[in-house]
Structures are given as structure tokens and as C-alpha cells.
């Protein structure tokens, strides 16, 4: 690597820090202070250290913490593999040149525009007992009574509705990342493999996947972090029939005014996020984070 200047002056030496300082200060102020405050709220009561909030979380008959933890993980491990599989398939499909590809591409990434609340609303009305889907099936004579997707007795169907909505809404971001990664793998590599007689599966296994790994890692990190914070879609489609961590934080904060308990929920989500992020980085050897060096 060529050095920019022969001998960096003292000022030059500190330039990168000076350039980063404003952003870092800002983040520490607007994220660091709230986090410190959240920790304070979670573990104090009237100014003294207290585990009362933790107690409530784990032992109160009103707390749905364990169920929320269960459902958050269940949703994440159901939704993410489906999204990655679909996105991967779509990315390969769109890597083939066909007429109208650009227009199709725009349509497929449209869900990038939509917020979780709007997506939840749209799917709730599509699947409600006299919503679009049921109206369609009834009028086609396929069913006589509506299919129920919502309600405590139908929690499995609610779970399905959440999965459908999340797959519809958030597969686009996985697709965009994987597609971008795929486009950068030079066609020459693949052609060379073809010349040497590699079949489709071998080409995928030994050429495409290894080169796609950084994209996959980025997509997985982004999706997992957001999946752990899942809230809007669940709140609209299932209410508290299916409790999730962020939803319980919201409920404790807004409905019950238990700020300390809400803060613990938030800290738990943050803790799991950091752990999962670190795990991914280890697994994928942190190539993504070294980008740009």
C-alpha cells in the first residue's frame, strides 16, 4: 500500500480521529445516554438498587416474559430461513437476463417501501374473516364458511399470518443484498467452471456460495436484528395472543407505565442482538466488517 504522504504530520495522524469524533459524540449522546438511563431505570427503585423489575419480569402472574421469549425465537427461526431461501432463489432467477427484467426487478423490491405497520394492516384486512382472501374463496364456491386466521383459539393460524406477512414484507431486503452480491461474482468464474465440466450443483456449491458468503452474512445480520425487534406486524395481526419481546416492552411502557420493566425488555433484546451479531461475525469470519480496508 502506498502511503499518502511521505511522513504524516502530527495533525495528519489525528485527522481520522477528528473526522470520526463528531459522529461518535453524537451517537454516544443520543444512544449512549438513553442506554445508560435504561439501565438505571431497570435496576433502581426510588434511587436505590433494586431487582424489583427483574422479579416482576420473571415471577409476576402478569408477566408474559417466557412466552414472549419463546415466540420471538420461534418466529425468527421460522421466518429467516424461508426468507433466505426465497431471496436466494429469486436472486439466481434475476441473475439470468430476460426481457423486462428491469421492470420486474422494480416490482419485486417494492416491499422495501413499506413499514411494518402498513404491511400488518394490509395483510390483516386481506386475511380477516370477510377480507379479500375469504371473499374470493367464498365467491368461487370453494368454501362456505370463512377460514379464520385470527383469534386466540387460532394461534397457529395467527402465527402463519405473521410468517406470511413478514416473508412478503422483508424478503425484499434480503433479496437486494444477495442479488447485489451475486452480480459481483464475475461470469468468467462460472463459465470457467462450466468448461471444466462442473454441473449446476457443483457450480453453486463451489463457486457461487463461497463468493456469496459476505452478502449472506450481511443479510443474515440485518434480518436477525430486525426479527428480534419484531413488533408492529405481530401487534396488528395477533395482538398479545402471540406475545413477543418488543411487543411486551411496548405494552409495559405504554399501557402499564412500567418503565423499568420495559427497559429490562429492551436491554434483553439488545443483549441477544449483540450475542447473535457476534456469533454471525465469528461464523462468517467477519469479512463484511473488514469491507473497505
Amino acid at each position: 500500500m502506498t502511503k499518502l504522504l511521505n511522513k504524516p504530520s502530527l495533525f495528519e495522524k489525528y485527522t481520522p480521529y477528528l473526522l470520526i469524533l463528531p459522529a461518535l459524540t453524537y451517537l454516544l449522546f443520543f444512544i449512549g445516554i438513553p442506554i445508560a438511563q435504561a439501565i438505571y431505570l431497570a435496576f433502581t427503585e426510588k434511587g436505590a438498587f433494586s431487582t424489583e423489575n427483574l422479579d416482576y419480569l420473571l415471577n409476576s402472574p402478569f408477566s408474559m416474559f417466557k412466552e414472549a421469549l419463546k415466540y420471538t425465537f420461534l418466529l425468527a427461526i421460522t421466518i429467516i430461513p424461508i426468507q433466505v431461501a426465497i431471496a436466494l432463489g429469486l436472486a439466481m432467477l434475476f441473475n439470468i437476463k430476460f426481457p423486462g427484467r428491469n421492470a420486474a426487478l422494480y416490482l419485486v423490491i417494492l416491499p422495501l417501501t413499506i413499514s411494518d405497520v402498513a404491511a400488518g394492516l394490509i395483510w390483516y384486512s386481506m386475511l380477516s374473516s370477510y377480507g379479500f382472501l375469504n371473499k374470493l374463496l367464498i365467491n368461487m364456491g370453494l368454501i362456505s364458511q370463512p377460514i379464520y386466521f385470527f383469534g386466540y383459539q387460532y394461534r397457529n393460524m395467527e402465527f402463519l399470518a405473521i410468517v406470511l406477512t413478514e416473508v412478503w414484507r422483508a424478503t425484499a431486503i434480503v433479496f437486494v443484498i444477495l442479488f447485489a452480491g451475486l452480480q459481483m461474482i464475475s461470469q468468467e468464474h462460472i463459465e470457467a467452471a462450466e468448461v471444466f465440466g462442473a454441473n449446476v450443483w457443483q457450480r453453486l456449491r463451489y463457486i457461487v456460495f463461497p463468493m456469496l458468503l459476505p452478502s449472506l452474512q450481511a443479510a443474515l445480520i440485518i434480518r436477525t436484528l430486525f426479527a428480534l425487534q419484531i413488533f408492529g406486524v405481530v401487534w396488528i395481526l395477533a395482538g398479545r395472543d402471540i406475545p413477543v419481546l418488543a411487543g411486551e416492552a411496548y405494552y409495559e411502557q405504554v399501557f402499564l407505565k412500567h418503565t423499568g420493566v420495559a427497559a429490562i425488555y429492551a436491554l434483553i433484546i439488545a443483549g441477544i442482538s449483540v450475542a447473535v451479531g457476534a456469533l454471525y461475525i465469528k461464523l462468517f469470519k467477519a469479512k463484511y466488517l473488514e469491507a473497505g480496508t
Binding site: 402478569f62 374473516s129 364458511q145 385470527f150 402499564l256
Partner: protein, 440 residues
Amino acid sequence: MSEALTKLQALIIAIIVIAAIGGGVAWYYMQQPKGVKIIWASTQLVPAQEQAFVKDTLLKEFTEETGIEVEFVPISYEDLATRLQSEEEAGKVTISVIGELHGGIDYFASQGWLEDLSKFGTLPDRTFPQVLEDYSRLHGIKAYIPWMTATYVMVVNKKAFDYLPEGLTEDDVIHGTSKWTYDALLAWAKKLYEETGGPKLGFPAGPNGLFVRFLHGYLYPAFTGAQVKNFNSDDAVALWEYLKNLWQYVHPSSTTWDAMADPLLKEEVWIAWDHTARIKDAIVQKPDQFVVVPVPAGPKGRGFILVIAGLAIPKGAPDQDAAWKLIEYLTRPETQVKVLENVGFFPTVKEASAKITSGPLKVLADGVNNQLNTPDALVALIPSLGAKGGDFKNVYITAFQRIVLNNEDIKTVLDELAPQLLSLFEETGAPLPPPDSMSG
């Protein structure tokens, strides 16, 4: 251009700017003392549309008529209580009129922060129902003037009347006779379920729904005679057994519904219970399709919640005459009809009903009126627990989830939750709400 000139120019510009600012400020202050300006702090009509109605219509007309400027300050109960306390303690009151629910005013009056409104005499040309007159006298003073009311009622799609159970007539339901009971509702819901092939009764039991009010303000008074006191009594066990029974015929999506207007309009359900404001849209869309009816009665009476908002004047408030004029204006029959039309709160003066002649609002107002005038009416008020209000609701919601949805043992759940419920009242020092405080 020489430097000196620039300096001179700068000086001139500076002088002009300072003069302009000074002049502007002086002009601004000269505009001020033209009329009286009072502050009206309200915990009601806070949503954006409602605020817009208050500022752009209601208060504009008042100012045109009287020349009194009113600054409408939407505020939460907690903020209002804190602010009032500090103002009263400092002896420097800025708020002239308070708009709050019965429970909050009850607390303010108990602290001695309110003027006795009887010193202003009576308001002409309007009569308040006796129940409102009684409730507005608190802690030895006339604490507030009843301003608006709201309640929760049942809405029936007229189609459902074709499936009435044996011994119940349409008239029984509409006028809330002694035959319109919870047992009759169960029989009706069952018949509807069996003969139409699906559940036709619904409740707003979603995360933002108000179903919890049905539990503590309707079923509890009707079955146990009180909202809180008899939480885990034998009567309460009978209540939950009834609800479990009824729930077989309740639309399963109920646990995701926040408001019943849409399920009614889509005919997902034919009978629904909800807050008047949340079914209004259904009735406005199809006024001929729906009837608003009183709720059924239980063994202890026809329990229902009456939400009362009142207007009060803080002790030592400035411009009290202007404040009284505002109260007079807000309780005029024609103003109250306007409030009903725009924000859906019901009048507190009898003369207002006569001014609504037809249309969807008439359907609503009739239903509310019929409910208020049933002979076995057992009015419940929402307790004022401030920040603990959420915990209060959570007790009843948790009981519902565990008993009805999760099928846990009734007595065990109730015994476990009862101390939690009572501790809320002990911690806050709030009185038990009516009807608990009425009966012995």
C-alpha cells in the same frame, strides 16, 4: 467602498434591526390586553381532529360572542395533576378552567384545589339528569358542571332479530326490559351460532380494544353488585363460568378486534358491544341496518359504565367570571349537540336530546337514553388510579386470558389476582369507584 462606510452601514443596519425588533415586541404587547385571555386545560378532546374542532369551531364562536380569548391546552391527567398541585401550592394559579373525567376531579376536590361552583348560581334553560347532579357534588362542594358523557352499548344488526330465542322480543331488547338478561343473550348467541352456521356475537378484545371495560364495569356489577369488592366471591365464580359458556358462541377473531364498527359493517358479527365512539362509523354508514340497545341485566342489576367529563374551576383561578362564561357556553344544548355531531360525546343536559331529530346520531342517542333510563340501571364509574390505571385493567384482562382462553381454574386465578387488585387501591389511596362505594 471604503471600510468606514461599511462600518457605518453596518451600524445603520443594526440600529434598524434593533428598532424593528423593539417595535415589533412593543406592538405585540399592545395587541395583548385588548380582551381577557384564559387558559382551559383539558384531558379530554386531545386527539388531533378533536383539538382542531375545539380550536377552529367551538372556541372561535365563543370568542366572537364574548371577546374572551381561550387558550385550549390538551394535557394528560398526570401532567394536569402535577401542574395543578404546584400552582396551588405556589399560590400562583394560571389555569382558569379544567376539563377532566369525574375520577380526576374527585381527587382534585379531595385535595381542596377547586372552587365551590354553587357560588355562581345555576345555569339557565338547562336541566341535568339527577344522577349527574348527585355525582358532581364531591367533598362538600359543587365540584364540577357535567360537560359530556360517553358510554358503551350494544349494537344489533336487525337481521339478528329473526333468530330471537324463546320468550324474548325485539321490544324487550330495545327497551331493556327485565327479560333482556345475560342468560337471554347466551340463548340468543347460541341460536344464532347454530342456525347461521357461525358465531355472530363479538367483542373488542384486541390489544387496543375496550373489552376490559365490559369485564369490570358491566359483568362484575351485574353479577356481583360491585366492580372491585367482590372480585373473587362466589358470584364472581358464577360470572366467569357464564363468560366461558358464552365464549363458545363469540367470534374467535374478537381477541384481535380493537373497534367493532368494521366487523359490524362486514357482517362478521350481528351483535356487538363497544364504546359509542367506536361503533359510530357503522351507524353513520348504515343507519337503517343497526339498532343501539341497552346492555343485558345480570342477577344484581343492569351494570354499565357512565363516563362523565366535567368542567371545574381551580381555587384562586384568574378571571373566574370569564371561566364561568365558558362553562355556560359549553353546556348550552346547541353547543352540546355540536359536540355530539363532531366528536361523539353525549350531552349532559336533557334539552339537547330534543334538538337531535333524525339520522344516525338519533339511533345512537336513543340507545344511550334507553340504557340510562332502564329501571334496574346500576351505574359504574371508572376508578381514578392515575398511572396505575393500566395495572387495574391488566388484572381483569389477565383473569380473562387465564380463565376463559387458557381454561385455568376460576377460583385459583381469582384468589391469586384479588390481592394485587386491592393493593392498587391501597397504594394510590383512591376510593373504590361506584357502585362499590354506594352499596353497603
